[in-house]
């Protein structure tokens, strides 16, 4: 109501006419047929002017100070001090709002319209519809408004806004011309606003998808551990050897590809670095070597004697304590865990590879957090070598035969990695550079979604859109505001408007 800003008097009459109809409806419902009550309906005030009463008694009161009051409504007001609703009358004058209690007749509320900071439709106790007016930090609650809340709200809001837009001498009829161009600009402005909102929502939804992916990864990681522990529980406790020997025959029933027999030691070595090893049981550190293989990790002492070999799926967690120190652990039920703590100067090279191989299990502890977030010093220094290492790894994943000549790597990890095609690897390399969470796109099952989700940060395309056609139009529209901004040229308006129509017809 009253969206076009005509002069004050005409506007007022417009509102009141509508109001009259409203109270007519109400009056009919309340009193049966009002015409029966004595020829003239009670709710038409004798002067036929602006003050409309809503009941017989109200009509009389209003005549007395008709000159000041624009309108008044019977309602109840919540008095905060005594915590009760007081029935009375809410009245509006051109500059202020007043509330008078019915019983005592005292003025409970009286403030200037210009002091209002918010008018809202709310419900008290979630049931009763009421109107709240926020005035300089205090909130006034009005409820059980007659004839209905919306009418009161619209009228109050109108007069409040009129405080701002009406000039003092009420330049009557001056601002009535509204050209077609202006109307169009208004429409475009409106649609632009909606699109801005849409973009905002899309962005936050993209972020939510991101969070979901992260959650899913965590869940998957936990499931892996649970799965392993369960298989371990299944094996009888009297079996004295490592569960691996027992498990191999059983392994045929799980859903995934069967585990490889014994991977030969000659498979492609991803990285071999000298490390200082601390085993869980003894506290003295020994020098040794850590070898990263596609199928697992090997820890050797300085005489190249194998100390321990972790198969990829045996590793339960890897903690990164500092960029130079990690610990690898395999959990067991009923006996101590196997865990090694490794310290190496070249660890920053190994961590990215470990991160790719064990994305779900790796965990950055406090000191290493800076390392996990890109852009901190250790990674910045080693940036090139890390990316080289990472890309080398990807290369190995695509052509597993290349690095060592023997195409033995048929275990689970390897098979999974082979699913990455040449183009995907290329894309991965590209995306990896600009991204915070390379881990998401690394998981081959969810890689596609992960990449899609990440894309909304890298490219200007909005998040996944089911229909490419619609996406085009949205993009076109998203690009148009620049035209719309330089308001003056009508040509650009029409172009944008054309897009707008297109968008809706599609």
């Amino acid at each position: 109501m009253g969206s076009s800003l005509g002069s004050l008097p005409t506007q007022t009459v417009g509102i009141l006419c509508e109001e009259e109809e409203n109270s007519w409806e109400k009056g009919r419902r309340r009193d049966g047929d009002p015409w029966k009550k004595g020829g003239i309906p009670a709710w038409v005030s004798p002067a036929g002017s602006k003050s409309i009463s809503l009941g017989e008694e109200a009509g009389k009161n209003e005549l007395m100070n008709e000159d000041i009051r624009i309108h008044s409504w019977p309602c109840s007001y919540y008095l905060d001090t005594s915590k009760q609703w007081i029935p009375g009358k809410l009245s509006l004058t051109p500059v202020s709002i007043k509330f008078t209690a019915d019983k005592t007749g005292e003025l409970l509320v009286d403030f200037h319209l210009s002091g209002i900071s918010e008018i809202k439709k709310e419900s008290s106790h979630l049931i009763f519809s009421s109107l709240t007016i926020l005035e300089k930090g205090t909130k006034h609650w009005f409820s059980s408004l007659h004839p209905n809340r919306n009418v009161v709200f619209n009228i109050l809001e109108h007069f409040w806004r009129e405080q701002l837009v009406s000039s003092q001498e009420a330049g009557a009829g001056a601002a009535l011309e509204s050209s077609k161009g202006k109307e169009l600009t208004g429409m475009l402005e409106g649609s632009q606003k909606r699109l801005e909102d849409t973009a905002k929502v899309l962005h936050s939804q993209g972020e939510q998808f991101d969070n979901i992916m992260r959650g899913l990864h965590k869940i998957e990681g936990d499931m892996d551990v649970a799965d392993r522990l369960l298989t371990e529980l299944e094996s009888p406790s009297w079996w004295p050897f490592s569960t691996k020997l027992w498990k191999t025959p059983l392994e045929s029933k799980p859903k995934e590809t069967p585990a490889a027999p014994d991977p030969k030691p000659q498979e492609g070595i991803l990285l071999r670095i000298p490390v200082i090893i601390t085993h869980r049981t003894d506290s003295n550190a020994k020098p040794g070597k850590l070898t990263l293989l596609p199928s697992g990790l090997e820890i050797k002492d300085c005489n190249s004697q194998l100390l321990h070999r972790f198969e990829s799926r045996e590793v339960d967690d890897i903690r990164v304590h500092t960029p130079y120190e990690i610990s690898i652990r395999q959990r067991f039920i009923g006996k101590p865990d196997t865990s090694y703590r490794l310290l190496a100067a070249r660890m920053p090279e190994a961590i990215p590879i470990l991160e790719m191989q064990f994305s779900k299990k790796i965990q950055f502890l406090e000191d290493a957090l800076g390392f996990a977030g890109a852009g901190k010093s250790p990674q910045a220094d080693l940036g090139t070598s890390i990316w080289q290492a990472a890309t080398g790894f990807l290369g190995a994943a695509v052509n597993p035969g290349l690095p060592a000549g023997s195409a033995e790597g048929t275990d689970k990890e390897q098979v999974q990695l082979q699913k990455i095609s040449q183009e995907e690897a290329k894309e991965l390399r590209q995306v990896n550079m600009g991204m915070r969470f390379p881990r998401i796109s690394q998981n081959s099952q969810n890689g596609q979604v992960g990449r899609d989700l990440q894309d909304h940060r890298v490219q200007p395309t909005p998040t996944p859109q089911p229909n490419p056609g619609t996406q085009c139009h949205i993009q076109a529209l998203l690009n148009t505001p620049r035209d719309g901004d330089s308001t003056t040229s009508p040509g650009s308006h029409f172009r944008t408007f054309f897009y707008f129509i297109l968008f809706f017809t599609l």
């Binding site: 918010e118 106790h125 701002l164 402005e189 962005h203 901004d485 308001t487």
Partner: protein, 303 residues
């Protein structure tokens, strides 16, 4: 409803049972002897939990919100004894939702308890979400804007920590809007500028950046006209697209009108802007405040 009460009683009756207490002392440890010994006590507590939850759901059907909230609360406490933090937090949230309809203050207490658990578990996103719920309760039911602001800020902090910048911005904008309403303009300005600079580089969000700069400039305007001018220049330099926006043009006109103390011109400019895109309530309030400074001075001249 009667059903609900009778269901709740057996749960209550179990509490003084000695078994119950012993079950609580030892956390359920897998494959330990204690587990077998005390599993009976634990199952009793579990049963009590279940009963409370069922009772709460019955109360919900009967729309007895405060009783439902109370039952959920009890269930949450029992879950805590069973060391299942996650269930406990979920029950606290349920309790909060039930209480929201009857006793806002109690709802806030429950949600706070849930938040404590969630932050303890490191689940900050969900904690932030409940901070927003609390802020909304303060906003709508208890009308304590200061506290609502505090909770929105806390939520924004948590979201930022989790790299959920979009959600963080949403909270911060709420804070800014309320801060401006409470005349804490400096705070509002800082937030709007920060959000504006964050969003202007984002391909998806840059279209809304002008709105934030506009609002920041308006806050500057209320405090001091000269500051507003400087700020406007700064924003134009930072974000060239801002120069072409209608908001920027309006600001320039308003500044001019204010300089000349011409309330007619001011009104005219606002009217023109409003005829194309309707001013929202926040903008109306702020523009009115500025207009008052013109009129106030004008009146002073007349006298």
């Amino acid at each position: 409803m009667g059903n609900g009460i009778s269901l709740m009683e057996p749960g209550k009756a179990k509490i003084p049972n000695p078994n119950f207490g012993s079950g609580v002392v030892f956390p359920p440890g897998p494959a330990s002897g204690a587990f077998l010994l005390h599993s009976r006590g634990n199952t009793r507590v579990e049963e009590a939990c279940e009963m409370y939850t069922r009772a709460a759901n019955m109360f919900k059907i009967a729309k007895n919100w405060s009783a439902a909230g109370n039952a959920f609360c009890q269930a949450a406490k029992l879950h805590m004894q069973l060391q299942s933090k996650h269930d406990s937090a979920t029950s606290f949230v349920d309790a909060g939702n039930a209480y929201k309809k009857a006793d806002p203050q109690e709802a806030i207490n429950c949600l706070n308890a849930a938040i404590d658990i969630y932050t303890d578990m490191g689940r900050f996103t969900i904690a932030a979400k409940h901070h927003i719920t609390i802020a909304e309760i303060y906003e709508a039911e208890l009308v304590d804007i200061e506290k609502a602001i505090a909770h929105y800020e806390q939520a924004a902090d948590y979201y930022k920590g989790e790299e959920s910048n979009s959600s963080a911005n949403k909270c911060l904008l709420k804070v800014a809007a309320y801060a401006a309403q409470l005349e804490q303009y400096q705070k509002a300005i800082e937030i709007y500028e920060q959000v504006g600079t964050n969003t202007m580089d984002n391909p998806l969000l840059k279209y809304s950046a002008k709105e934030y700069f506009f609002k920041a400039a308006l806050c500057h305007f209320i405090v001091d006209e000269l500051n507003a001018k400087l700020a406007l220049e700064k924003y134009e330099e930072m974000f060239p697209a801002f120069t072409d926006s209608r908001e920027c043009k309006l600001l320039k006109k308003l500044l001019e009108a204010h300089e000349e103390q011409n309330s007619e011109a001011y009104t005219e400019a606002v009217k023109e802007f409003d005829s194309i895109s309707r001013l929202d309530q926040w903008l109306t309030t702020m523009l009115l405040r500025i207009k008052k400074t013109i009129q106030g001075e004008g009146d002073g001249d007349l006298k």
